[in-house]
């Protein structure tokens, strides 16, 4: 038996589900092939979605009609807006999830998606022809054909679990790894590396002494992730906060040599921002206590995830250290913590469409690209799914594929970071990675992206209608805000701050001032009361940031100019004049595709970028005006 599709997605994790849904929304006949259909949408580690930087990613996925925002809105059991007091640009929505509700929500969304067929099976091989992918072969011998394949196998490739000195091949706890496929990918000559991550023990919540712990409740006002969600209906829970103490630390220091991470048994690089408890104690010896959040994994599930004590120490040490912690003295451990090591493909092998440069039609997304986190995986899945469907549709409008840049979205920042710099450690999103952070906000993701999505065709009819309405309301509101300027007397009479220059102010001018909100302006401009309440926050923020955003626009233009200067694929690097061997080496290793990318390579000097540009200008004698001067102005 053989089957034929436009797009095959391998893996039903967070990357795979978004990829499959996106390709199907684009109209491609799509197959999602995954090892266990009932595990689709499984959260491998901490049951939470969103956070700082990550929350923005989820909003962006939602703006492109992805699944994650809608799924967490049906499964979130503790919604909180992080950084509420630190400014609208860096606020990130986060919600803890009921693991089962989340899985169900993802599976339901997929079930209602047209053009999508879900197939259970472990993929063991890829079929190729003339440097082009043609399909996949399952371990049990089924050959399925498609001109585009998206590979999203997460931590499963060559996965190896470490618990103390014990080692078990696995993709996740209790799930088999993908060894055959791992071998096949190494055979393709792809740049494969090893990374590691870890997870804490899971506790039985019924055996935790909650009464002695500080509890953290959900927000009073629950702000959904998806703009399609009217209200969060899921009941909200609190989580507990406890701490490690000196006794805990003593036990860990005494046994640190038994930790898989410290015994030198693990070759993969782990993330610095997600350290194991043994890491924290080793590196910050002067800190006598570390915070732990006790997060219930579900409404009708007594499992508790102790956030903050990920470990790969042996079982008996884990039991002993947990028993020293306040509230956990008598706690039963349901599953021990572990570290997992897995294969990843150096993402510098990818184009910004997430297609492998060396094998046309094969797209990679998720943890396989060296990232960590559900949101990062999902965002890549979305991009890969869209591009996979564009790839098999030669009449598609976007010939170069669907690429978001660093000023469009966090998604653009992430993809550019990955394909330019690779992943020397597991890559996670932070707001500090975004140069244009004031512009890339969680509150304006739809304004940044939904029109782009409509243009490429990845937005379904429901969102399309919803967005058109919102857009109309927004532009009406903006018109109101920038008209009817009033003099200082009127402004002062309403008790609002009145700048002394005596000039006339529009509502937008006044909103730029600290401490002025939209409702305060109703007295002067009663018509502003017609602006729908859900739009208030983002309109206020837009006005407040207007000056900064204008200044940032010049930088964005310069960045886009640099990104528009393409570097030919087969550039003879040794022929570039005035370039140090170090810079040549960097160019050879990173193979930047644009001048913008070249300038973002760590260690690349402005002088070297200028030399490269000078060379490009020389070889493009065609005189089409390209390449133009770069932003990194430099002169000697």
């Amino acid at each position: 038996m053989s089957q034929k599709f436009d797009v095959i997605v391998i893996g039903g994790g967070h990357a795979g589900t978004e990829a499959a849904a996106a390709a199907a929304r684009m109209g491609a006949a799509t197959a999602l092939v995954t090892i266990a259909v009932d595990k689709i949408g499984e959260m491998s580690c901490n049951p939470a979605i969103g956070g700082l930087g990550k929350g923005q990613l989820v909003r962006e996925i939602d703006a492109l009609d992805g699944l994650m925002g809608q799924a967490i809105d049906k499964a979130g059991i503790q919604f909180r807006m992080l950084n509420k007091s630190r400014g609208p640009a860096v606020q990130g929505p986060r919600a803890q999830a009921d693991r089962k509700l989340y899985r169900n929500a993802v599976q339901e969304l997929l079930a209602s998606q047209d053009n999508l067929q879900i197939i259970e099976g472990a993929v063991g091989d890829l079929s190729t022809e003339n440097g082009q992918i043609t399909g996949i072969i399952t371990e049990d011998g089924r050959h399925i054909y498609a001109p585009s394949v998206v590979l999203t196998t997460g931590t499963f490739l060559g996965g190896l679990i470490h618990l103390g000195t014990e080692r078990t091949p696995a993709g996740r706890f209790g799930e088999r790894p993908s060894l055959q496929l791992a071998k096949r990918l190494r055979g393709l000559g792809l740049p494969v590396g090893r990374l590691k991550t870890g997870t804490p023990a899971r506790l039985n919540g019924r055996t935790i002494d909650w009464d002695r712990l500080v509890m953290q409740p959900a927000d009073d006002i629950l702000v959904p992730f998806s703009s399609l969600t009217q209200r969060i209906e899921v009941p909200q829970i609190s989580c507990g906060i406890t701490r490690t103490n000196e006794k805990t630390h003593q036990i860990i220091s005494d046994s640190i040599h038994l930790s898989a991470v410290y015994s030198g048994q693990i070759e993969g690089q782990g993330p610095r921002y997600c350290p194991s408890i043994e890491d924290k104690i080793h590196r910050f010896a002067d800190k006598s206590s570390h915070q732990i959040f006790l997060e219930p994994e579900g409404l009708d599930d007594s499992t508790v995830y102790p956030n903050g004590i990920s470990t790969s120490l042996p079982r008996d040490v884990q039991s002993a250290l947990i028993a020293t912690i306040e509230g956990l003295e008598k706690t039963e451990i349901l599953q021990f913590g572990y570290a997992i090591e897995y294969d990843f493909i150096d993402p510098r092998a990818l184009a910004p469409t997430l297609e492998l440069k060396a094998l046309k039609g094969l797209f990679l997304a998720g943890q396989i690209n060296g990232t960590t986190g559900y949101e990062e995986a999902a965002a890549q899945g979305l991009i890969a799914g869209i591009n996979a469907s564009l790839h098999c549709n030669p009449s598609a409008k976007a010939a170069d594929g669907f690429i978001l840049d660093r000023a469009d979205a966090y998604i653009g920042v992430m993809v550019d970071d990955l394909v330019t710099k690779g992943a020397p450690e597991p890559y996670r999103m932070f707001t500090s990675r975004a140069e244009y952070r004031l512009h890339l906000r969680a509150d304006n993701a739809d304004q940044r992206l939904t029109d782009k999505g409509l243009e490429i065709g990845c937005i379904g009819p429901v969102r399309s209608r919803h967005w058109t309405d919102k857009k109309t309301a927004l532009s009406a509101a903006r018109r109101l805000l920038s008209s009817q300027p009033k003099g200082p007397n009127v402004v002062a009479a309403a008790g609002l701050p009145t700048p002394r220059d005596g000039s006339m102010r529009t509502p937008a001018d006044l909103l730029a001032l600290e401490g002025v909100g939209l409702t305060q302006l109703f007295e002067i401009w009663p018509e502003l009361a017609t602006i729908p309440e859900p739009l208030h926050n983002q309109l206020e923020t837009d006005c407040r940031y207007a000056g900064y955003l204008e200044r940032q626009q010049a930088d964005i233009d310069a960045m886009r100019r640099d990104d528009a200067v393409k570097i030919p694929a087969h550039l003879n690097i040794s022929a570039i004049g005035g370039l140090s061997s170090e810079s040549k080496d960097l160019l050879a290793r990173y193979q930047p595709q644009t001048i913008g990318q070249a300038s973002r390579i760590p260690g690349m000097t402005p002088a070297a970028v200028v030399a490269l540009l000078r060379h490009l200008r020389k070889i493009s004698s065609a005189g089409d005006g390209q390449p133009r001067p770069i932003s990194a102005s430099f002169s000697l």
Binding site: N46, L52, G53, L82, N83, S85, R86, G87, P88, A89, V90, P271, R272, Y273, C274, P275, K280, R283, F284, K287, H290, Q291, F293, N307, G308, S310, K421, F430, T431, S432, R433, E435, R437, L438, E514, R544, Y548, R551, S574, A575, I576, G577, G578, L579, S580, S581, E582, S583, P602, T605, P606, A607, A608, A611, S633, F634, S635, L636
Partner: protein
């Protein structure tokens, strides 16, 4: 001719013309094979060797000293050979001729040795600027300043400030991205205190009367004044030669004429402008416009005015109001009888510009402007407008950040630091996120 680092480049390193000794410098992969081209079997790295260079017929060209440096321990970071030969034009031509016709060798482009050094990490940009200045230096002060910059006068403090901004920005980013972590309580106070220190350091560096740029570019002195007042005569007097055309016909000096000279050890760019045509008692607007840009960017304006004309002092006073720069009033034609003026004694001095000994008098007066430059005991950090712009931009942002409320929007405070970092980065290379994350993860225990 290809412009590639694969070639071995050579150039005469000493001034052209007859001299006792001349040095030819060769840099690149084949530099150390050069002795073979002249029939000499010598291994030269790290030694000085006296040898006889021969041409391809075996005839001796010169008795020379070879100095070899193997990569990367050389000025350019490549293999380098120096030939110290006799400074005869014929000898030099012969040696260069042999090199030029050898495959893989070519004459160096202007500044190419420096650029190779820069490319090979032998110097940072500021040091390279220093080297370029050293080569151009015409005065002792310029030379002193250029060598200071070459040896880190600029890069050391800038490197330190860059580190500081990166560290402070990293702290701010930690407060934003790791808000739910247990960060030190005193972090905000630390950031505020260190920012104040950093602002003070930048202010001090900027408050240098622009000495560095003046030393480097020369003090710009502009001669202004009404037509026929004697501006061109003054110019010639100071320059000691007929640089500008002197005539009795009004409006002879059409364009700005510039001469370079050294006064009190300070390089000076002296510019003569077209005069302001005076009609009745108001000054013709167009005349002012023409000279205005020169005048506004000058370090010093010499206002020449005919002191034998009644009302000169009032006219001078009115004109000076318009100047944005320091000025000195010279009442010329005192030999024709100076009209007494209601001006401060120190505010002007009178002169007969047709007398050559007047030159000393004027130079003495200028000296009081120039001497402080010469006496500045500290070599200034800033030597170029580009440094000043970068520091000033960084300072403005840091000062702005101090006006923002921490209770409000920290992202805006961080935005100021990001801008300050990118301004400084224009001199030192940009600050990458990875660098910030390194700071954060090495200082704070972060992560669940």
């Amino acid at each position: 001719m290809s412009f590639s680092n694969a070639d071995t480049i050579f150039a005469l390193a000493t001034p052209p013309g007859v001299s006792a000794i001349a040095v030819i410098r060769i840099s690149g992969v084949s530099a150390l094979r050069v002795p073979h081209l002249f029939g000499v079997e010598a291994s030269v790295p790290r030694t000085a060797k006296r040898v006889f260079l021969k041409d391809d017929r075996g005839i001796i060209l010169d008795d020379v000293m070879l100095l070899g440096f193997a990569a990367p321990a050389s000025a350019t970071g490549e293999d380098v050979l120096e030939i110290h030969c006799h400074g005869s034009v014929a000898v030099i031509e012969d040696i260069l001729g042999v090199l030029a016709k050898t495959e893989g060798f070519r004459p160096a482009e202007a500044g190419e040795f420096t650029r190779r050094a820069l490319d090979n990490g032998k110097m940072d940009i500021t040091a390279a600027e220093g080297l370029a200045d050293l080569i151009e230096a015409e005065t002792t002060l310029q030379r002193r300043q250029a060598s200071a910059q070459m040896t880190g006068q600029l890069s050391r403090p800038v490197g330190f400030w860059r580190e500081e901004i990166a560290r402070l920005l990293a702290h701010l980013e930690a407060l934003i991205d790791f808000a739910d972590e247990e960060l030190p309580e005193a972090l905000r106070q630390e950031i505020e205190a260190d920012t104040a220190k950093l602002c003070a350091a930048l202010e001090t560096a900027l408050d240098d009367q622009r000495f560095g740029e003046i030393i480097r570019n020369g003090l710009s002195v502009v001669i202004a004044g009404p037509v026929n007042a004697g501006k061109s005569t003054l110019m010639n007097l100071l320059a000691g030669r007929n640089a500008a055309i002197v005539s009795d016909t009004e409006g002879t000096t059409r364009d700005v004429i510039e001469v370079r000279l050294t006064l009190s050890g300070i390089p000076v760019r002296l510019a003569d402008t077209a005069g302001f045509r005076e009609t009745a008692d108001n000054i013709e607007a167009e005349g002012i416009l023409r000279a205005q840009t020169e005048i506004n960017t000058a370090d010093l304006v010499l206002l020449v005015i005919d002191g034998s004309q009644p009302g000169w002092a009032e006219t001078a006073d009115k004109m000076c109001q318009e100047f944005g720069s320091p000025y000195l009033i010279i009442a010329s034609k005192s030999d024709k009888g100076l009209v007494a003026a209601d001006l401060d004694e120190d505010g002007y001095f009178s002169a007969d510009l047709t007398q050559s000994k007047t030159a000393q008098k004027i130079e003495a007066a200028l000296h009081s402007y120039l001497a402080p430059l010469n006496q500045a005991n500290q070599t200034p950090i800033i030597t170029r407008a580009r440094h000043r712009d970068a520091f000033a931009a960084a300072l403005v942002r840091l000062q702005h950040s101090q006006t923002l409320s921490w209770e409000g929007d920290i992202a805006l405070i961080a935005e100021d630091y990001r801008r300050a970092a990118s301004a400084l980065g224009r001199i030192t290379g940009h600050i990458d996120v990875e660098e910030l994350l390194d700071h954060i993860f090495s200082r704070f225990c972060i992560g669940k």
